[in-house]
Protein backbone atom coordinates (compact mmCIF):
# COMPACT_ATOMS: atom_id res chain seq x y z
CA UNK A 1 0.00 0.00 0.00
CA UNK A 2 1.73 3.12 1.15
CA UNK A 3 5.06 1.83 -0.04
CA UNK A 4 5.94 5.40 -0.89
CA UNK A 5 8.79 6.38 1.38
CA UNK A 6 8.86 10.00 2.44
CA UNK A 7 12.28 11.52 2.93
CA UNK A 8 13.24 12.63 6.44
CA UNK A 9 13.91 16.08 5.00
CA UNK A 10 10.27 16.52 4.19
CA UNK A 11 9.34 15.40 7.69
CA UNK A 12 11.72 17.96 9.09
CA UNK A 13 10.09 20.66 6.99
CA UNK A 14 6.66 19.63 8.21
CA UNK A 15 7.57 19.64 11.86
CA UNK A 16 9.17 23.06 11.54
CA UNK A 17 6.04 24.40 9.85
CA UNK A 18 3.95 22.94 12.65
CA UNK A 19 6.07 24.64 15.28
CA UNK A 20 5.85 27.96 13.49
CA UNK A 21 2.07 27.63 13.21
CA UNK A 22 1.89 26.94 16.93
CA UNK A 23 3.78 30.14 17.64
CA UNK A 24 1.54 32.06 15.24
CA UNK A 25 -1.65 30.83 16.85
CA UNK A 26 -0.43 31.73 20.33
CA UNK A 27 0.49 35.19 19.11
CA UNK A 28 -2.82 35.67 17.32
CA UNK A 29 -4.68 34.89 20.52
CA UNK A 30 -3.46 38.18 22.01
CA UNK A 31 -4.56 40.29 19.08
CA UNK A 32 -8.05 41.70 19.48
CA UNK A 33 -10.01 40.39 16.48
CA UNK A 34 -13.48 40.11 17.94
CA UNK A 35 -15.27 36.99 16.76
CA UNK A 36 -12.44 36.34 14.32
CA UNK A 37 -10.12 35.12 17.08
CA UNK A 38 -11.97 31.83 17.15
CA UNK A 39 -11.91 31.55 13.39
CA UNK A 40 -8.20 32.22 13.17
CA UNK A 41 -7.40 29.72 15.93
CA UNK A 42 -9.48 27.02 14.33
CA UNK A 43 -8.19 27.64 10.83
CA UNK A 44 -4.62 27.32 12.05
CA UNK A 45 -5.50 24.17 13.98
CA UNK A 46 -7.07 22.71 10.87
CA UNK A 47 -4.02 23.59 8.85
CA UNK A 48 -1.83 21.78 11.35
CA UNK A 49 -4.11 18.78 11.48
CA UNK A 50 -4.15 18.59 7.70
CA UNK A 51 -0.36 18.55 7.56
CA UNK A 52 -0.21 15.76 10.10
CA UNK A 53 -2.82 13.71 8.26
CA UNK A 54 -1.34 14.21 4.83
CA UNK A 55 2.32 13.70 5.63
CA UNK A 56 2.89 12.07 8.99
CA UNK A 57 -0.03 9.75 8.42
CA UNK A 58 0.87 9.31 4.74
CA UNK A 59 -2.62 9.90 3.48
CA UNK A 60 -1.26 11.88 0.61
CA UNK A 61 0.43 8.71 -0.65
CA UNK A 62 -2.32 6.29 0.38
CA UNK A 63 -4.85 4.57 -1.85
CA UNK A 64 -8.17 6.23 -2.58
CA UNK A 65 -9.93 4.09 -0.06
CA UNK A 66 -7.97 5.58 2.84
CA UNK A 67 -8.60 9.07 1.54
CA UNK A 68 -12.27 8.26 1.32
CA UNK A 69 -12.33 7.09 4.91
CA UNK A 70 -10.65 10.26 6.11
CA UNK A 71 -12.97 12.48 4.13
CA UNK A 72 -16.01 10.53 5.29
CA UNK A 73 -14.94 10.81 8.91
CA UNK A 74 -14.44 14.55 8.71
CA UNK A 75 -17.69 14.90 6.81
CA UNK A 76 -19.69 13.02 9.44
CA UNK A 77 -18.16 15.00 12.23
CA UNK A 78 -19.14 18.09 10.28
CA UNK A 79 -22.70 16.82 9.99
CA UNK A 80 -22.97 16.31 13.71
CA UNK A 81 -21.59 19.75 14.48
CA UNK A 82 -23.20 21.67 11.66
CA UNK A 83 -26.71 20.31 11.91
CA UNK A 84 -26.86 20.62 15.69
CA UNK A 85 -25.41 24.11 15.74
CA UNK A 86 -27.78 25.10 12.95
CA UNK A 87 -30.59 24.49 15.40
CA UNK A 88 -29.00 26.76 18.00
CA UNK A 89 -28.21 29.41 15.45
CA UNK A 90 -31.77 29.65 14.17
CA UNK A 91 -33.68 29.35 17.44
CA UNK A 92 -34.51 33.04 17.57
CA UNK A 93 -35.67 33.26 13.96
CA UNK A 94 -39.33 33.60 13.34
Amino acid sequence: MSEHIVSPKLYLGIILTLMVLTAVTVGAAYVELGPWNIVVALVIATLKATLVVLYFMHVRYSPGRTKLIVVAGVFWLGLLLFMTLADYATRSWY
Partner: protein, 227 residues
Protein backbone atom coordinates in the same frame (compact mmCIF):
# COMPACT_ATOMS: atom_id res chain seq x y z
CA UNK B 1 -6.70 -19.92 14.28
CA UNK B 2 -3.22 -21.18 13.67
CA UNK B 3 -0.39 -18.93 12.74
CA UNK B 4 2.64 -19.37 10.55
CA UNK B 5 5.32 -16.80 11.21
CA UNK B 6 3.68 -13.41 10.83
CA UNK B 7 0.67 -14.75 8.94
CA UNK B 8 -2.55 -15.67 10.71
CA UNK B 9 -4.30 -18.76 9.31
CA UNK B 10 -7.49 -17.14 8.13
CA UNK B 11 -5.63 -14.85 5.77
CA UNK B 12 -4.27 -16.04 2.47
CA UNK B 13 -1.32 -13.65 2.14
CA UNK B 14 0.72 -11.20 4.19
CA UNK B 15 -0.43 -8.44 1.90
CA UNK B 16 -4.06 -9.23 2.69
CA UNK B 17 -3.29 -9.24 6.39
CA UNK B 18 -1.49 -5.91 6.19
CA UNK B 19 -4.29 -4.35 4.23
CA UNK B 20 -6.84 -5.58 6.76
CA UNK B 21 -4.84 -4.17 9.64
CA UNK B 22 -4.44 -0.80 8.00
CA UNK B 23 -8.09 -0.57 7.01
CA UNK B 24 -9.13 -1.64 10.47
CA UNK B 25 -6.92 1.00 12.04
CA UNK B 26 -8.31 3.77 9.88
CA UNK B 27 -11.87 2.77 10.62
CA UNK B 28 -11.02 2.68 14.29
CA UNK B 29 -9.64 6.20 14.08
CA UNK B 30 -12.87 7.38 12.49
CA UNK B 31 -14.83 6.00 15.42
CA UNK B 32 -12.45 7.93 17.65
CA UNK B 33 -13.15 11.09 15.70
CA UNK B 34 -16.86 10.68 16.32
CA UNK B 35 -16.23 9.78 19.93
CA UNK B 36 -14.36 13.02 20.57
CA UNK B 37 -16.82 14.82 18.29
CA UNK B 38 -19.63 14.42 20.79
CA UNK B 39 -17.60 16.14 23.49
CA UNK B 40 -16.47 18.89 21.17
CA UNK B 41 -20.10 19.57 20.40
CA UNK B 42 -20.99 19.63 24.08
CA UNK B 43 -18.11 22.05 24.61
CA UNK B 44 -19.25 24.35 21.82
CA UNK B 45 -22.85 24.55 22.96
CA UNK B 46 -21.96 25.05 26.60
CA UNK B 47 -19.36 27.65 25.80
CA UNK B 48 -21.82 29.53 23.67
CA UNK B 49 -24.31 29.53 26.57
CA UNK B 50 -21.79 30.60 29.21
CA UNK B 51 -19.25 32.85 27.50
CA UNK B 52 -18.13 34.72 30.61
CA UNK B 53 -17.36 31.68 32.71
CA UNK B 54 -15.60 29.94 29.85
CA UNK B 55 -13.47 32.96 29.09
CA UNK B 56 -12.46 33.39 32.70
CA UNK B 57 -11.86 29.68 33.14
CA UNK B 58 -9.72 29.58 30.04
CA UNK B 59 -7.58 32.40 31.40
CA UNK B 60 -6.72 30.41 34.50
CA UNK B 61 -4.93 27.83 32.35
CA UNK B 62 -1.18 28.17 32.05
CA UNK B 63 -0.58 29.17 28.46
CA UNK B 64 3.18 28.67 28.66
CA UNK B 65 2.83 25.09 29.76
CA UNK B 66 0.10 24.48 27.19
CA UNK B 67 2.18 25.86 24.34
CA UNK B 68 5.24 23.97 25.51
CA UNK B 69 3.27 20.76 25.61
CA UNK B 70 1.91 21.37 22.13
CA UNK B 71 5.47 21.60 20.91
CA UNK B 72 6.44 18.44 22.73
CA UNK B 73 3.56 16.49 21.26
CA UNK B 74 4.25 17.73 17.75
CA UNK B 75 7.87 16.73 18.15
CA UNK B 76 6.80 13.27 19.27
CA UNK B 77 4.69 12.97 16.15
CA UNK B 78 7.79 13.79 14.15
CA UNK B 79 9.88 11.12 15.87
CA UNK B 80 7.05 8.65 15.39
CA UNK B 81 6.94 9.43 11.68
CA UNK B 82 10.70 8.88 11.61
CA UNK B 83 10.28 5.52 13.32
CA UNK B 84 7.87 4.46 10.59
CA UNK B 85 10.31 5.72 8.00
CA UNK B 86 13.08 3.71 9.62
CA UNK B 87 10.76 0.72 9.47
CA UNK B 88 10.10 1.10 5.79
CA UNK B 89 13.78 1.45 5.05
CA UNK B 90 14.63 -1.46 7.34
CA UNK B 91 16.97 0.48 9.65
CA UNK B 92 16.38 -1.62 12.75
CA UNK B 93 18.51 0.38 15.17
CA UNK B 94 16.84 3.62 14.15
CA UNK B 95 13.37 2.14 14.66
CA UNK B 96 14.21 1.45 18.28
CA UNK B 97 15.85 4.83 18.74
CA UNK B 98 12.94 6.82 17.36
CA UNK B 99 10.40 4.76 19.26
CA UNK B 100 12.24 5.47 22.48
CA UNK B 101 12.39 9.17 21.66
CA UNK B 102 8.67 9.19 20.99
CA UNK B 103 8.00 7.49 24.28
CA UNK B 104 10.18 10.00 26.08
CA UNK B 105 8.41 12.98 24.56
CA UNK B 106 5.07 11.41 25.37
CA UNK B 107 6.28 11.02 28.94
CA UNK B 108 7.25 14.67 29.12
CA UNK B 109 3.82 15.64 27.86
CA UNK B 110 2.11 13.58 30.52
CA UNK B 111 4.47 14.92 33.16
CA UNK B 112 3.64 18.53 32.31
CA UNK B 113 -0.03 17.64 32.28
CA UNK B 114 0.33 16.26 35.79
CA UNK B 115 1.88 19.53 36.92
CA UNK B 116 -1.02 21.45 35.43
CA UNK B 117 -3.57 19.15 37.04
CA UNK B 118 -1.83 19.48 40.39
CA UNK B 119 -2.09 23.26 40.19
CA UNK B 120 -5.80 22.98 39.55
CA UNK B 121 -6.16 20.70 42.57
CA UNK B 122 -4.30 23.19 44.70
CA UNK B 123 -6.61 26.02 43.65
CA UNK B 124 -9.71 23.89 44.17
CA UNK B 125 -10.64 24.14 40.54
CA UNK B 126 -11.48 20.47 40.20
CA UNK B 127 -15.21 19.91 39.80
CA UNK B 128 -16.76 18.22 42.80
CA UNK B 129 -17.64 19.08 46.35
CA UNK B 130 -14.38 20.91 47.06
CA UNK B 131 -14.74 23.09 43.97
CA UNK B 132 -14.28 26.68 44.98
CA UNK B 133 -14.05 29.97 43.18
CA UNK B 134 -12.66 32.99 45.09
CA UNK B 135 -15.38 35.46 46.00
CA UNK B 136 -13.78 38.33 44.13
CA UNK B 137 -13.85 36.32 40.89
CA UNK B 138 -17.52 35.63 41.42
CA UNK B 139 -18.35 39.25 41.92
CA UNK B 140 -16.19 40.24 38.99
CA UNK B 141 -18.15 37.79 36.88
CA UNK B 142 -21.45 38.96 38.28
CA UNK B 143 -20.56 42.42 37.11
CA UNK B 144 -20.14 40.87 33.71
CA UNK B 145 -23.62 39.44 33.92
CA UNK B 146 -22.93 35.94 35.11
CA UNK B 147 -24.26 35.68 38.69
CA UNK B 148 -24.21 31.89 38.53
CA UNK B 149 -20.55 32.03 37.71
CA UNK B 150 -19.44 29.33 40.12
CA UNK B 151 -21.68 26.73 38.50
CA UNK B 152 -20.73 27.80 35.01
CA UNK B 153 -17.02 27.83 35.82
CA UNK B 154 -17.41 24.33 37.16
CA UNK B 155 -18.88 23.42 33.80
CA UNK B 156 -15.80 24.79 32.09
CA UNK B 157 -13.50 22.82 34.33
CA UNK B 158 -15.46 19.63 33.98
CA UNK B 159 -15.15 19.92 30.22
CA UNK B 160 -11.49 20.82 30.57
CA UNK B 161 -10.79 17.77 32.69
CA UNK B 162 -13.07 15.58 30.59
CA UNK B 163 -11.41 16.49 27.33
CA UNK B 164 -7.80 16.62 28.44
CA UNK B 165 -8.31 13.58 30.64
CA UNK B 166 -9.67 11.53 27.77
CA UNK B 167 -6.79 12.73 25.66
CA UNK B 168 -4.29 11.81 28.37
CA UNK B 169 -5.88 8.39 28.63
CA UNK B 170 -5.26 7.91 24.94
CA UNK B 171 -1.66 8.97 25.48
CA UNK B 172 -1.24 6.40 28.22
CA UNK B 173 -2.59 3.69 25.95
CA UNK B 174 -0.25 4.94 23.24
CA UNK B 175 2.70 4.80 25.63
CA UNK B 176 1.81 1.20 26.45
CA UNK B 177 1.76 0.36 22.76
CA UNK B 178 5.13 2.06 22.29
CA UNK B 179 6.68 -0.01 25.05
CA UNK B 180 5.32 -3.14 23.42
CA UNK B 181 6.80 -2.05 20.09
CA UNK B 182 10.16 -1.16 21.59
CA UNK B 183 10.48 -4.61 23.08
CA UNK B 184 9.76 -6.26 19.77
CA UNK B 185 11.95 -3.86 17.94
CA UNK B 186 14.90 -4.62 20.21
CA UNK B 187 14.43 -8.28 19.32
CA UNK B 188 14.77 -7.27 15.68
CA UNK B 189 11.26 -8.32 14.73
CA UNK B 190 10.68 -5.44 12.36
CA UNK B 191 12.13 -5.45 8.89
CA UNK B 192 11.58 -3.57 5.68
CA UNK B 193 9.07 -6.32 4.80
CA UNK B 194 7.23 -6.60 8.08
CA UNK B 195 6.62 -3.45 10.09
CA UNK B 196 2.83 -3.22 10.17
CA UNK B 197 2.63 -2.81 13.95
CA UNK B 198 4.95 0.22 13.89
CA UNK B 199 2.89 1.77 11.16
CA UNK B 200 -0.40 1.12 12.95
CA UNK B 201 0.72 2.49 16.29
CA UNK B 202 2.10 5.46 14.35
CA UNK B 203 -1.33 6.22 12.91
CA UNK B 204 -2.82 6.07 16.36
CA UNK B 205 -0.17 8.32 17.84
CA UNK B 206 -0.64 10.96 15.15
CA UNK B 207 -4.36 10.86 15.72
CA UNK B 208 -3.89 11.58 19.42
CA UNK B 209 -1.68 14.46 18.39
CA UNK B 210 -4.41 15.86 16.17
CA UNK B 211 -6.89 15.82 19.02
CA UNK B 212 -4.49 17.96 21.00
CA UNK B 213 -4.01 20.29 18.06
CA UNK B 214 -7.67 21.22 18.52
CA UNK B 215 -7.81 21.04 22.28
CA UNK B 216 -5.01 23.55 22.68
CA UNK B 217 -6.67 26.54 20.98
CA UNK B 218 -10.16 25.66 22.22
CA UNK B 219 -9.16 25.41 25.85
CA UNK B 220 -6.14 27.70 26.17
CA UNK B 221 -6.30 30.31 23.46
CA UNK B 222 -9.79 31.51 22.74
CA UNK B 223 -10.64 34.51 24.92
CA UNK B 224 -7.06 35.22 25.93
CA UNK B 225 -7.54 38.78 24.73
CA UNK B 226 -10.01 39.41 27.56
CA UNK B 227 -7.23 39.51 30.11
Amino acid sequence: MHRTGELYGHFETLEQQRESASLGMWIFLITEVMFFGGIFLAYTVNRHANPVAFAMGSNTLDLKLGAFNTGVLLASSFTMAMAVWAGHTGKQKLITLFLILTLLLGGIFLGVKTVEYAAKFEHHLVPGSSFHIPAEDVSAAAAKADPDFAAHAQLFFSLYFGMTGLHALHMVVGAGLLIWLIRQSMQGRFTAKYNTPVEMVGLYWHFVDIVWIYLFPLLYLIDRRHK
